[in-house]
């Protein structure tokens, strides 16, 4: 009997040691991902600078960020190797936050480049992970949505700074975009979880951007509709 019990505890010990090793390996890779995310974020912060030309933003900041995403893809590939199949959610907490941040950054780049809401599929492609769980190491839907919510906060800031920099078109585009995003999110049935809390912040982003547009309208600074259409196309 005593032998039996110590057997059980010995195999438990082995299990713990294995798990610790795996976690250590994952932690190292996640740290690299965090570093890339920070670098990309720093580059993209430049969009708030004064005297930014549209071309500048795309050719310079987006292009440089996209280069950094090459490293991100490599690290995700490494994670995909380390994490055993069907155990994604066993270690999920470890890369959850950095994935959310990277989703935000990817969606920001796509927005700056072509002004559309990025799909989950595209984000997964940019990160170098699978879109569907069945295919292997994938992008969790909630992480993607969290990234979009972070995007709305960043864009509301961008709207304000664009006005400061004399770009009156952009806040109007952003207002449209954030509204669409809001409409989309309202289709979801959210549980009382972190996503829900974050979603509650979305309305403040909408409000802020609308205030900017309002300020522009009553002062006659809002560009005529034609010029927006031209610019957009």
């Amino acid at each position: 009997m005593a032998v039996r019990i110590s057997e059980i505890f010995n195999s438990f010990q082995d299990y713990l040691n294995n798990e610790e090793e795996l976690r250590e390996e994952i932690r190292a890779t996640v740290r690299n991902l965090e570093k890339s995310a920070r670098d990309i974020l720093m580059i993209l912060q430049n969009i708030h600078n004064e005297n930014n030309m549209e071309e500048n933003i795309i050719s310079q900041y987006c292009a440089t960020s996209r280069e950094l995403f090459i490293d991100v893809r490599k690290n995700y590939a490494k994670l995909a190797e380390v994490v055993p199949r069907d155990q994604y959610y066993r270690f999920y907490e470890q890369w959850r936050f950095v994935t959310q941040k990277l989703c935000f950054l990817a969606s920001l780049i796509i927005y700056l480049e072509i002004k559309v809401l990025v799909t989950k599929e595209t984000v997964a492609e940019i990160l170098g992970v699978k879109n569907n769980r069945e295919d292997g190491f994938h992008l969790d839907l909630e992480d993607y949505l969290m990234g979009l919510l972070q995007l709305s906060a960043e864009l509301s800031r961008f709207a304000i700074n664009s006005v400061t920099n004399g770009d009156y078109n952009r806040p109007i585009e952003i207002a449209r975009f954030v509204n669409d995003l809001n409409a989309g999110f309202r289709l979801l049935n959210l549980k009382n979880d972190s996503l829900r809390k974050r979603f509650d912040g979305l309305k403040y982003a909408v409000k802020k951007v609308e205030e900017v547009v309002y300020d522009l309208s009553i002062r006659g600074l809002k560009p005529s509709p034609d010029s927006i259409t031209e610019k957009g196309e």
């Binding site: 505890f9 438990f12 994604y88 072509i114 509204n179 989309g184 049935n189 309208s217």
Partner: protein, 277 residues
Amino acid sequence: MSQTKDDGKNRGHRSKINIDDGKQENVENMHENSLIVQQFQAYAAELDDKHDRFERIVKIGRDINIESKRIIFLLHTIDKKSKQESVLCEANLRLQKVAQHQFKAIAFELKDQDPYLYLKGYRNGLEEYIEAVTFYQYLKYDNMENWLELEKTLTYTFPEKSKTIQILISPFEYILGIADLTGELMRQCINTLALGDRASCYQTCNFVRNIYKGFLGCASVSNREIHRKLSTLKQSLHKIESVCYTIKVRGSEIPKHLLVDVATGEYADSDEGYQAY
């Protein structure tokens, strides 16, 4: 990328007005909007599926929890050797029933899913079930199984998919279940003493001691749950050991039926309510 005249405020409202302005723009507007709407409808479906599945599993987990508690209670009612056989038999039947119904239902929900995502939903039920199973095994065989063997009994085949699904028992849950088991053993030890069965008190004491030893080996793990259980385990062991002490020292002086009061009296303060049994 096409842009419209919409200023972003009250989109729905604006597009209604747009019908008068010109059909062209309205169609464009609708189209673009529907892309996002379509996209989010798909996301909503995926989220709902996940949440609903989780809720269903939580429900089943609760059923398992309740039934396991009842089985443990049933096992505590063994007071005569003659009764033992029939009680153990009934407990075994009920344990199998839980495996056949509730756990099968969970396995059905988990097919083609990542079990770790839903583990939280049935963790409590599983822990209680492990406690019941190991308690039964202790009473019946004076021994217990490894989690792998338990996992084998919780394996289901779904012929329509020709797929075999095993309920995930993470060793963590198993070990935590064993920690809970020691609490039951402590109660059982005092019960048997009340019945005058001294030999099994010593036996239980040894068993719990071995478990405690095993836990100390894993104490390096920085897991809050394990540390919490370990301190409870220590208390239980302490109680059992002092019961054994009382039997040894005063066993011959006091009539059997009073011995239990003496043995447990000293610990009445830290009573967990076992005298109610």
